[in-house]
């Protein structure tokens, strides 16, 4: 009896694998199509703007991936994107559209810097853990508030999360230019610096800090959480059909608030890593649009935490190449924004192709 079962499993396994690959290809096809269409539209746009599209694409490749130097630059920019994309991707599993990643980064970075300044004499590991905890709690509070408002008051979470971001940025500016300002920071108001001993180091052999590894691990952990656990199943059920989930007795409010808190914690952690690995203090450099790019990363990854990893690296690369485009081609720094905007629009339009028979099945 047991022999036949084992044989049956063996016979089934390859079939299941090819089935999985096929499903993955089916899911990725409209996205790849959208990327292709975007490349064409953006080329036309560049041509109209008087730039040579081929040269621009070549420069994007050079600036993003062609050399070890540019690849490291790309990975440095991908690190915050990995985490902040989760701020949109996780709640999206429940059918919520949260766009407050920028607020979570700013809050997290501020909390980490504020705590870090106090912990100047604390040993390395506890200091970093406390900074991370402070950042995650403040980011989580911000996004969980949007989730709670949605659940308890029916307030649209897209609007509230963006409003909370604006409020968070105002509080950030108030504190950084007021009570928490380091009097020595003249041109660019900043908080005092955290201890040099508390900076997150680089991965051996590279200039890339460990924040990248943390981001990848968190993305993978969230992928497992959403795919393989009861929690993830419940979350996906709420996203699939809220009414059915309620009938099944799922604690919807708890799921919504927990997921939003995790999302905000990821965003807050992104801010902490930016502070503890790059800037060493909180200032306006935290508020440079990673949160908004993260929204696009999440959508392009179809809100799949594991898929966030390659997409974040792609966008890290596009951002990294932005400077090169500015210097070599004299294109405005907003060129990257235009590319992202076109991609986002085309990507959503391509949703209409989803589910149509692309492979003749």
């Amino acid at each position: 009896m047991s022999v036949t079962t084992a044989a049956g499993v063996n016979a089934e396994r390859p079939a299941a694998l090819s089935e999985k690959l096929r499903a993955a290809a089916q899911a990725a096809a409209p996205t790849l199509f959208a990327v292709l269409v975007t490349a064409v539209i953006f080329a036309v746009f560049l041509f109209a703007a008087g730039a040579d599209p081929f040269e621009v694409y070549e420069l994007i490749w050079t600036g993003a991936f062609a050399s070890w130097f540019s690849l490291q630059n790309t990975l440095l920019r991908a690190a915050p994107l990995l985490l902040v994309a989760l701020c949109t991707a996780l709640p999206a599993r429940l059918g919520l559209v949260i766009i407050g990643g920028e607020g979570a980064i700013v809050f997290g970075g501020l909390a980490a810097a504020a705590i870090g300044v106090v912990l100047i004499d604390t040993p390395y590991v506890p200091a970093l853990l406390l900074m991370a905890a402070a950042a995650m709690v403040s980011g989580a509070a911000l996004i969980a508030l949007a989730g709670w408002l949605r659940h308890a008051r029916g307030v649209n979470e897209t609007i509230s999360s963006l409003l909370l971001t604006y409020i968070a940025i105002a509080v950030f500016n108030h504190l950084v230019e007021g009570p928490l300002r380091d009097p020595a920071s003249l041109n660019k108001p900043s908080t005092a610096s955290i201890s040099d001993h508390h900076m997150i180091g680089t991965i051996p052999g590279t200039d890339v800090h460990w924040g990248l590894a943390i981001g990848v691990v968190v993305c993978l952990a969230m992928a497992v959480l959403m795919r393989k656990t009861t929690f993830g199943f419940a979350a996906r059920m709420v996203g699939g059909n809220m009414r059915a989930a309620r009938m099944a007795g799922l604690p919807i409010g708890k799921l919504v608030i927990t997921t939003c808190a995790m999302a905000g914690a990821a965003g807050g952690l992104a801010g902490m890593i930016e502070v503890a690995a790059i800037h060493g203090k909180a200032n306006a450099s935290l508020n440079t649009g990673y949160g908004y790019t993260g929204i696009l990363v999440a959508f392009l990854a179809r809100h799949e935490p594991a898929a966030v990893i390659p997409v974040a690296i792609l966008f890290g690369g596009i951002n990294a190449a932005g400077g090169l485009l500015q210097r070599r081609m004299d294109l405005p720094d907003a060129t990257v924004l235009v590319l992202q905007g076109i991609l986002f629009v085309v990507l959503l339009a391509s949703e209409t192709l989803r589910g149509r028979s692309l492979f003749g099945r």
Binding site: A170, H174, G341, V345, L348
Partner: protein, 307 residues
């Protein structure tokens, strides 16, 4: 009576500020109101506002005529609105997500195309000195009304008439309340929504033109700070009534003018915190008016955002 106003300068500056700051809110909220009454939400008006501001400034600078700038801003807004409507017309495309994407697209395009116009000075729109008979300089300054504010009020009246008293308006409202009913009447809800979203985008474009051509009256990348998004909350607060949009806009304008008004009398503490007043107000209003169990009174039934 030309003496020092003391602390009275704050409400006076807020009155003037309310009229100035509220004008973009009026246009964006009327545009959003029109769009939402047809049963669709456009979250992308923030992008429309910025693109409108850039194109108005650019055209005013190149042609020397600010009014031509306003017209082009309208066209640019209509284009973005039309794009939103086209995309949302496709099956399985989510209007909230399309709004976010157009917000990024519109701002990206505006920053790209507007790069050459950050430095030069374009001619601004003229103002109407309603307070010419007052000697008190602060009060007189507060009553310098911009022509677009007047246009906005007239537009609100016209929209009220259009929605309530015309056949087209009736069909548009029907599209917002029940697409089946519109189909039964022999009209297409899609066409109505396309028209309403395009027109709404054009109005938001005018709001943008105000920002760059009157107050603050210059073009830079930090020009709009969420007015396009706040308009959505404002429309909810106004219960989808154009006239109430005016009152709500004035309230938001006053909140936005709080920070600069306090600064004008020497209160510099908490400048950024007071600057956040409109966001807090928006959030507070949404918390107070929304409910998890019932849809909002006056809300178009086809609208997803209030459910």
């Amino acid at each position: 009576m030309s003496g020092d106003l003391g602390l009275w300068a704050v409400p006076v500056a807020m009155l003037g500020g309310a009229i100035r700051v509220s004008t973009p809110y009026i246009f964006v909220s009327l545009g959003e109101c029109l769009t939402e009454r047809s049963g669709r939400i456009n979250l992308g008006l923030e992008g429309t506002l910025v693109l409108g501001a850039m194109s108005a400034y650019g055209i005013a600078y190149l042609s020397g005529s600010p009014w031509l700038g306003v017209l082009v801003a309208m066209l640019a807004g209509a284009l973005l609105g039309g794009l939103h409507a086209l995309l949302c017309g496709l099956p399985k495309v989510n209007d909230i997500a399309v709004g976010i994407s157009l917000m990024l697209f519109g701002t990206g395009m505006a920053f790209f195309l507007g790069k050459p116009f950050v430095q030069p000075k374009a001619p601004n729109l003229p103002s109407i000195p309603l307070g010419w008979w007052i000697e008190q300089p602060e009060l007189r300054a507060a009553l310098e009304i911009n022509p677009l504010f007047v246009v906005g009020i007239l537009l609100a009246l016209a929209l009220t008439w259009f929605l309530g008293r015309t056949r087209r308006g009736l069909i548009l409202r029907a599209a917002g309340d029940s697409s089946e009913a519109v189909r039964a009447m022999g009209y297409s809800a899609e066409t109505m929504r396309f028209t309403a979203t395009t027109a709404g985008g054009a109005l938001a474009g005018i709001g943008g033109a105000f920002l760059s051509l009157y107050y603050p009256g210059s073009w830079n990348e930090g020009l709009s700070s969420g007015q396009g998004l706040m308009a959505i909350a404002l429309v909810i607060f106004a219960r989808w009534q154009p006239i109430r949009c005016i009152w709500a806009s004035l309230l938001f304008g006053a909140a936005g003018a709080l920070g600069p008004a306090l600064q004008s009398v020497g209160v510099t503490w908490g400048y950024y915190l007071f600057g956040a007043a409109p966001y807090v107000l928006t959030l507070g209003i949404m918390i107070a008016t929304c409910s998890p169990t019932r849809s909002l009174r006056g809300a178009p039934a086809e609208l997803g955002v209030t459910r």
